[in-house]
Symmetry: C2
């Protein structure tokens, strides 16, 4: 093996971590190529969904994990602790497990890290746990040498029980596509902070657990909620493309219906970032059968976390695997981000 090989193909790049096609290829071709899926998984490794679903007795157990490496760890609207809890709670919730049974917390911290910062992060985790009614039940703590890790990383895995599983692959033509909140806030706020730009705008991450909101959705929507996904690293565009591809439908989205704040649009323009292509950490995308769309929207808007919810389009039996954006003056494909996606955003 040659550590000084110059061939870029042989090296991991930041693009491998952006959650899009490069990540998927790395996962399927390298990281899991030799893995055997659980024989009895209802949703398993091969499904590439937000979590796995395993039968445990007569229950459907959802299992998921995310490691959080966000930079900076404290950002407007949240920090790595709130993110670590929210990210995993939301992956469980979009699989249908809005009731969290337990989280694990794997903290890795650099020697010389200020204990006071660790305290703030832990407090923030505790607060998000209360908000999500999600207890941390087990954990692990490792310290790496000074200079061996840039600060702190936190892995959270989670388990929950789903009555009705909502994979990202079960859209049918005519299903209404709903987003539960305004788009782009986490990514734009984080990037603005990182660039050190003061926009005189109120840019804050949307990072929050939305399992309570999705519980309200499932309560009124039930089986008519056909698919859910959280639009994280690859943004709205990435999540919609993945839902379209896996469900073997097209998705039609009307640009002007997508809720985005003026501040996010403005900052996005100045930063050269598309709010559709950047991470959200407190939003879910739903596919809902047409008859249930109105009651689900009403339930969402009744909830403090769903006031800005909107039906942005629908699944169609055309343009399979693609997302068609109606821009008002014509159509274009909404593509998932590729190389432009930014590292350490979550």
């Amino acid at each position: 093996m040659n550590d000084t090989a110059s061939d870029e193909e042989e090296r991991i790049t930041l693009t491998h971590g952006t959650g899009g096609q490069a990540t998927r290829d790395l996962v399927s071709e390298t990281l899991t190529a030799g893995f055997e899926d659980a024989g009895d998984a209802l949703v398993g490794l091969a499904d590439f969904d937000d979590g796995a679903v395993l039968p445990v007795g007569d229950k459907k157990l959802v299992v998921t994990t995310d490691t959080h490496v966000v930079q900076p760890p404290f950002f407007p609207g949240g920090d790595i602790g709130r993110l670590a809890v929210s990210g995993t709670v939301n992956d469980l919730a979009v699989m249908g497990a809005t009731e969290v049974r337990g989280l694990t917390s794997g903290v890795v911290v650099e020697a010389n890290y200020p204990r006071e910062k660790l305290e703030r992060i832990a407090d923030s985790m505790a607060e998000a746990c209360r908000e999500a009614d999600a207890p941390v039940v087990s954990g692990d703590t490792k310290v790496m040498g000074n200079g061996e890790l840039d600060g702190i990383t936190i892995n959270t895995a989670g388990v929950g029980v789903a009555e009705h599983v909502t994979p990202d692959s079960d859209l049918s033509p005519q299903d209404v596509i709903i987003v539960t909140d305004t788009i782009g806030e986490h990514g734009i706020a984080l990037l603005a902070e990182r660039e050190g730009i003061d926009f005189e705008a109120d840019l804050e991450s949307d990072v929050q657990p939305v399992n309570d909101l999705l519980a309200a959705v499932l309560e009124v929507g039930g089986e008519a909620v056909t698919a859910m996904k959280d639009p994280t690293r690859t943004g709205l565009a990435g999540a919609l493309n993945e839902m379209a591809r896996k469900s073997e439908v097209g998705i039609e989205v009307t640009d002007e219906r997508v809720p985005v704040t003026g501040d996010v649009t403005g900052a996005g323009e100045l930063l050269g970032l598309d709010p559709y292509q950047i991470a959200n950490e407190g939003v879910a995308i739903l596919g809902v059968e047409p008859t249930a769309a109105e009651p689900v929207l009403a339930a969402l808007r009744d909830h403090p976390k769903g006031e800005n919810a909107a039906a942005i389009g629908k699944a169609i039996d055309d343009h399979h695997g693609r997302v068609v954006l109606d821009t008002g003056i014509g159509n274009r494909y909404m593509r998932e981000p590729s190389k432009e996606a930014v590292p350490r955003i979550c």
Copy 2:
């Protein structure tokens, strides 16, 4: 907050990561101080055990996590991939969940890492998964910038179902203490490798999943197996002290009965390391009611991973919370490692 504070107490140190008292203090005083335990946990955060136990339907679900930061990631006898699977499988198994339902894999890798190394690590995970009959069901992949992470870390969380839960706190006086294999191999092999010393001895990590071995133990021992623990970061001494403390018994160990290879003893002497105080990654400690000790030992020795199993002592109703070592010429307390413990050993 003062980033240049010189007061050592305010900074995280390598000692906080060695798994002993400093780690426990950091976890309870800082990392989980504000956490609320799961209301229905059978074994929860407060128990500080190898994993948590949660009721799911009529099953007992065991949940655990470990992040692996071992340095070097490839070492004699294994690598970080094999370690990541074995470590979590073993934490499930010593809680009684010898049947693994699913693992998660959270990989964080440094940009510019050779893909070929990642491939070898993934292959090694796959092999350990097959060995443990433990499928990875979900995962996550992040890339940090070059210089932001020293290579690779892997978090594995795991879930399994236990019939009979075997916490580390249920020893009763007279219970026989059994170790399933020779002691000290992982830590001594790793440190020898790190020091670059060639001992002309066969020093290899013992890293392996032992859930199959412990299934055989539970098969013959059943409820008479009162306690199990894997002696990882803090070694045999740390694990025994923790079992004694939590069970409110003393533990009496006869030095010459503890299986240690001559190579490990010799290398330990040269390295200035006590094999009792260093990590094992393929060994379990059992507490067994006296009547079941012989059948359990027989079952262990019948198994390729248990050939060197030995009864090394017993729980006593004296010296509560302490481990008394009979050295042949008298007694001394076997203390758990404190500051001497080495970083990034697992």
